[in-house]
């Protein structure tokens, strides 16, 4: 009878030691150089392990209080080492390569994640982040939820397309309204638009300026605008003031204008994406209005 409590204590101690050892192997101090990666880390409950983030890590807002390591392509080896990280995470956009080599040489683990706009990439990223954070289950849940939300958007779009024509849309990325860049084929913005069931009217590759005349001739059904300095109504007013040609378009006449957070357009697919897609799809396929 006396033995049992002792055995129990022994077992408990063993368990504690085992988890301790496990926790020791997981990196404790994290530096993240990728916006979406930082967001996923926060979503997985690992925010308190972050000791530094790059300039693209803007969400959640609490990340801005952390030491900044600069732009992800222009990292400084000694700067990052001064934060004494166990691991540096980022996307394949992270660089420059000689700096990464120096960081690796100093014994810091570097984990690269994909910034491709594909679901496979999100699954893979989440799985690896989950095991690095010791939150495999949470990661699996988040991935399942992500799929579910995206499937729901797809279903909604498909259903709406049976009744309505896909709207022609332009995505304008600008700074205080002046000379916006139009998201063309192959851009992350284009991917967003198509996922939400729109036809991107811009046929050029990359982000380009279009002449006012071209804009007017494309006559979009819906305008999505993404402004780095103003938001909402202010951004819209600035945009229309700088580009009077747009005021005559169908989108403005019918007041079908949507604003989009510009931070969603960089650094791969993040956790806020499904909600945005849902919002965009809602704007592209409005529930039939009462006559």
């Amino acid at each position: 009878m006396m033995r049992r409590p002792a055995a129990l204590i022994g077992l408990c101690a063993g368990l504690v030691l085992a988890t301790q050892a496990l926790a020791d192997e997981l990196p404790r101090r994290w530096v993240s150089a990728g916006g979406a990666v930082s967001e996923w880390i926060s979503a997985l409950g690992g925010e308190q392990r972050l000791v530094g983030v790059d300039t693209t890590s803007q969400h959640p807002a609490s990340l801005k209080a952390l030491p900044g390591i600069g732009y992800q392509r222009q990292l400084s080896a000694e700067g990052i080492l001064s934060l004494r990280p166990d691991v540096l995470v980022g996307t394949e956009e992270m660089g420059p390569p000689p700096v990464l080599a120096q960081i690796r040489k100093a014994g810091v683990r570097i984990e690269l994640f994909s910034s491709r706009a594909e679901l496979d990439a999100v699954d893979d990223n989440l799985k690896r982040l989950g095991s690095l954070l010791g939150a495999e289950q949470k990661a699996a849940e988040l991935a399942a939820g992500y799929h579910q939300q995206l499937d729901a958007v797809q279903a909604k779009v498909k259903q709406a397309q049976a009744a309505q024509k896909a709207p022609g849309v332009l995505l304008l990325v600008g700074h205080a309204g002046a000379k916006p860049l139009i998201a063309g084929q192959g851009t992350s913005g284009d991917w967003l638009l198509r996922q939400a069931g729109a036809r991107n009217l811009a046929a050029h590759p990359g982000y380009k300026n279009l002449s006012v005349e071209t804009l007017a001739a494309l006559d979009p059904d819906v305008l999505v605008f993404s402004d780095r300095s103003l938001n909402g109504e202010q951004a819209l007013q600035a945009l229309l003031k700088e580009n009077p040609a747009l005021a005559a378009s169908r989108a403005v006449r019918d007041k079908r204008l949507v604003s989009l957070d510009p931070t969603l357009l960089v650094g791969g697919l993040g956790p806020r994406l499904p909600a945005t897609l849902n919002e965009l799809a809602g704007a592209f396929y409005p529930v039939a209005k009462a006559p």
Binding site: P67, G68, R73, E78, G79, L81, S82, L83
Partner: protein
């Protein structure tokens, strides 16, 4: 006559300044290392057998990050300043800087081709791609300078005035070509291009350092030998010819030296403005126009100024880093203005 600093005093001061800059550059950084550890690690790097307990990190940071960076800064600063002297001597114009013969704009064009066009070129072997940018920048700088030189040459005579104008025209042309590449660039390459144009000593490594050190040593050894000829050239081309200077050979050598030196510096660290223009002026204000003093003094001052600028670049926003091109002008320009105003009074 304005009071001038004695060359000896100037050299002693500049050497001390340079040593101070090297010392600070090796001991200061975002990672704060105890001074004693840094000294021990430094001794170990020099081959002195000191116990290595707990020194791995210090040794790594000193040997792999700070030392190559310091050497890169010294070499780039010295070469830019020396080539600045060469160009101001060649054009007999205080506004001349190494960019005037097109080497900077040519290098920028080469860099734009490498950064934006690298993905279109295709068929680049894996081992070569890390060096593509440097090689393209170097070749671009050399190519445009050669073209400027060819255009200035007529009947075996090189007209400095024609070269100047050709340099301006080709700089404009290269600028618009860079603009075209900027237009074609996507977000990512655009950022890389912008940062390259501001220069940085970040990520210096020995394998990239050797070619520059060789070129810097060659330029630093060769240019001072032509100090007398440069002095003669100050009087005018025909005067120099009467004094027995082979003016054509001198011009060719100056242009070649600048293309090689600035091309290598830009290939290693990106475009760093200001040093080549202002360091020779600073030294001239202090010590007068004698090239026998001007050349070696500019070498020391250029190296020291770039190292001090780099200290600011790496410490001001730590753990992030500023591009050094911003800092050189920010430190150097007010100092230069101060000297100008003082001289006027």
């Amino acid at each position: 006559m304005r009071r001038r600093v004695q060359p000896r005093t100037l050299f002693i001061c500049l050497t001390l300044l340079c040593l101070l800059a090297i010392g600070l550059s090796l001991t200061l950084g975002p990672v704060s290392l105890p001074l004693f550890d840094t000294l021990r690690a430094g001794l170990r790097l020099l081959g002195v057998p000191v116990s290595a307990d707990g020194l791995e990190q210090t040794e790594m940071i000193l040997g792999q990050i700070r030392l190559p960076r310091t050497l890169l800064g010294l070499a780039v600063g010295a070469v830019l300043a020396l080539c600045g002297v060469a160009m101001q001597g060649l054009f007999r114009n205080p506004l001349a800087d190494p960019g005037l013969v097109g080497v900077a704009s040519g290098a920028a064009l080469g860099a734009a081709v490498a950064i934006v066009g690298g993905s279109w070129l295709g068929g680049i072997p894996q081992w070569f791609s890390p060096y593509l940018l440097s090689v393209c920048a170097f070749v671009g700088g050399l190519g445009v300078t050669a073209l400027v030189y060819r255009l200035g040459k007529h009947d075996g005579q090189t007209s400095v005035a024609t070269m100047l104008l050709a340099g301006i025209a080709l700089t404009a042309l290269a600028g618009s070509a860079v603009g075209l590449f900027t237009y074609l660039a996507d977000d990512a390459t655009l950022r890389t291009l912008t940062f390259w144009n501001l220069g940085s000593l970040n990520g210096a490594s020995y394998e990239r350092l050797w070619p520059l050190l060789l070129v810097a040593a060659a330029v630093a050894l060769w240019l001072p030998r032509r100090a007398q000829a440069l002095n003669a050239l100050l009087l005018g081309e025909s005067e120099a010819r009467h004094l027995g200077v082979e003016v054509e050979a001198l011009k060719r050598e100056l242009v070649f030296c600048t293309a090689l030196g600035v091309g290598a510096a830009v290939a290693a660290a990106g475009l760093i403005g200001f040093i080549g223009l202002v360091v020779p002026h600073l030294v001239r204000l202090l010590a007068g126009p004698d090239h026998r003093v001007l050349l070696p003094a500019s070498l020391l001052a250029g190296g020291a100024l770039l190292l001090f600028a780099d200290l600011v670049a790496r410490l001001a926003l730590a753990p992030a880093e500023l591009p050094i091109g911003i800092v050189t002008a920010f430190i150097g320009a007010p100092f230069f203005l101060f000297l100008l105003v003082r001289r006027r009074n």
